[in-house]
């Protein structure tokens, strides 16, 4: 019997039912179906019974992931359906919400067999474009800049691709929030005081993205990969089919969980299909000279080509 929970949200093409309010997520409409994922509070074990793989603060096994921050909260993610949190007394709702939208959400999506990238996504003219890159490479900043140029925001941090019956891959809208570093806020010419801090003690702020539409998803046309290189000028080049797969694999969100979950082969196979369908373009950003405007111009030009 599924739990009856007070709050319901729509994200990544799924309905999430939660025991606590998650203000960053979009509430469901009256037409939305029963919940796909349940986020509840409860007791969480200190260890999985049979972990197949583990890191400093995570364990994974088929159908189960345990992840925690000492002194803050522990999360148990099971079978692509439930996330249980056991918060410490000092854990604030905003901290719990921010943590939920990170590894626990990625884990439950991976358990459901979905392709999740650590990426940003925007769309225009019926086509979706993904921006992949390492932490701090500027994905969110570029997505925000493109949103100011008329692109519709789709998702940031976690981008989920869903294969439709027509064979296309669609990026389902995530939470309508972009999290920006102080430097990005300056670069984008935003007023930091108008943006809500992520958490006390964390030097990041969040911007609500108004163009978000949770009922809409469009085929993924191109994937841009942000890379910093020791070259003098910005350059874009297409990634060939052989190189695509390792590139895409590198940016699977929380990809380190896959081995213990026993889903590596499935994900690999699915990424192979994505690689065959979608153009991947390497953006080689000069380490020495950076202009956000020039970067966005180059991406727009490539989108139009």
């Amino acid at each position: 019997m599924p739990p009856v929970l007070e709050y319901k949200y729509k994200l990544h093409g799924l309905v999430l039912s939660s025991w606590m309010p998650l203000p960053d997520a979009s509430p469901t409409g009256p037409e939305d179906a029963a919940a796909d994922i349940y986020f509840t509070q409860g007791q969480v074990p200190s260890t999985l019974e049979k972990p197949a793989d583990e890191g400093a603060c995570w364990q994974s096994a088929p159908g189960q992931v345990l992840v925690w921050v000492d002194g803050v909260a522990r999360f148990l993610i099971e079978h692509g359906k439930s996330v249980t949190v056991e918060p410490c007394d000092t854990c604030s709702p905003e901290t719990m919400s921010n943590l939920f939208f990170a590894t626990p959400l990625a884990a439950v999506l991976l358990q459901r067999g979905l392709i999740c990238f650590n990426a940003s996504a925007i769309q225009k003219n019926g086509q979706t474009f993904l921006i992949l890159g390492a932490h701090g490479s500027g994905k969110s900043t570029l997505a925000f800049e493109l949103a100011t140029r008329g692109y519709q925001f789709v998702s940031d941090e976690i981008v989920v691709l869903v294969k439709r019956q027509d064979g296309t891959y669609r990026a389902e809208p995530g939470i309508p929030v972009i999290k920006l570093w102080e430097h990005s806020i300056q670069l984008l010419g935003l007023d930091a005081s108008s943006l809500e801090p992520l958490r006390p003690g964390v030097n990041k702020r969040k911007s609500l993205m108004p163009c978000h539409d949770t009922s809409d998803s469009r085929p993924v046309k191109k994937i841009f990969l942000l890379n910093e290189v020791v070259e003098d000028k910005l350059r874009l080049e297409e990634v060939n089919l052989i190189q695509k797969l390792p590139v895409l694999l590198e940016f699977v969100e929380c990809g380190y969980l896959m081995k213990g979950m026993g889903i590596q082969r499935t994900v690999f196979k699915e990424l192979g299909h994505v690689a065959a369908k979608v153009e991947v373009i390497n953006i080689l950003k000069s380490k020495y000279e950076f202009s956000l405007g020039a970067l966005a111009d180059a991406v727009e030009q490539r989108i139009g080509s």
């Binding site: 921050v69 500027g138 992520l198 290189v229």
Partner: protein
């Protein structure tokens, strides 16, 4: 040797040179390794740290990250024994004396130290900022490197402390397997120093192999590689491998700048042979 191998230093004190040497030694190749493909990781790089931690560390507070850092080290030592890691952090955090490094997962530490007068010149060049600003950072008890204010930084901030605090936190740490190497000694007698370092780390290589790795990591070789192909660890618009000398500070620092460094770090400088008994630069 069990546990993590740390190459620790204040920035611009020979850490990268040592890493390139080790990469060449381990590759056992005839040709120099590509300086853009070094296999010794900066443990503060988020692409190294976050997957082991299990969290996007941009969501966490500095104290949560410090605690997590100890757990990350334990996990790394368990999963990947004999991992060589680069660190610019002091042994203890600037706020209080909480340790940043996990003693029970520590295999060995090479601590590289360099005359702070030379460090100031090289660091200023690397950061592309004026000498006075760099000296102020070196004198700041809570100095940090890589906070997200001037650019997006793909790593977690390095907890530097001031130059003396950095040096004393490592050199005076009790009960850790530590070998301190002066950059100046490494330059003056590299074969002896590298051989001793290898023996300390339990790396079983012949003198000929060490000499070959030294040749493949010489200043001229790495400088040429950087000129030909760039170096991804370089600062903004500045070459990383600049002069590779010791004692060049005399041409770059004013008397006032020199005195500022000596006033702040005189005791540690004298201890490591950078000042004589009268507190004059050696």
């Amino acid at each position: 040797m069990k546990g993590l191998i740390w190459l620790a230093s204040y920035p611009k004190s020979g850490n990268t040179w040592f890493r390139i040497f080790l990469a060449n030694l381990m590759s056992e190749g005839e040709k120099p390794v590509d300086i853009n493909l070094l296999n010794t990781h900066n443990w503060r790089a988020r692409r190294t740290f976050d997957p082991v931690a299990g969290w996007d560390t941009s969501l966490l507070t500095p104290e949560e990250i410090r605690v997590l850092g100890l757990q990350v080290q334990r996990s790394m030592a368990k999963q990947r024994p004999f991992t060589i890691l680069k660190a610019h952090d002091a042994f203890t955090a600037p706020d209080g004396d909480r340790e940043i490094f996990c003693r029970d997962s520590m295999g060995a530490v090479i601590y590289l130290i360099r005359n702070p007068l030379d460090v100031a010149v090289s660091f200023s060049h690397h950061l592309n900022q004026p000498l006075d600003q760099t000296i102020a950072l070196m004198n700041r008890p809570k100095g940090k490197l890589g906070e997200m204010k001037t650019r997006i930084y793909p790593g977690l901030p390095d907890q530097l402390r001031d130059w003396s605090g950095h040096a004393s936190s490592w050199a005076e740490a009790k009960g850790i397997p530590l070998k301190v190497i002066r950059y100046e000694d490494l330059r003056q007698n590299p074969l002896r120093e590298f051989c001793q370092a290898c023996a300390f780390l339990g790396i079983n290589k012949s003198q000929a192999e060490i000499a070959r790795a030294m040749a493949n990591s010489s200043f001229e070789v790495v400088k040429k590689q950087e000129m030909d192909h760039g170096f991804r660890e370089a600062g903004h618009q500045r070459p990383f491998f600049r002069k590779g000398t010791s004692g060049g500070w005399g041409e770059a620092l004013s008397q006032e700048q020199m005195q500022s460094i000596i006033r702040s770090h005189g005791e540690m400088m004298r201890r490591f042979g950078y000042l004589d008994e009268q507190m004059r630069p050696v």
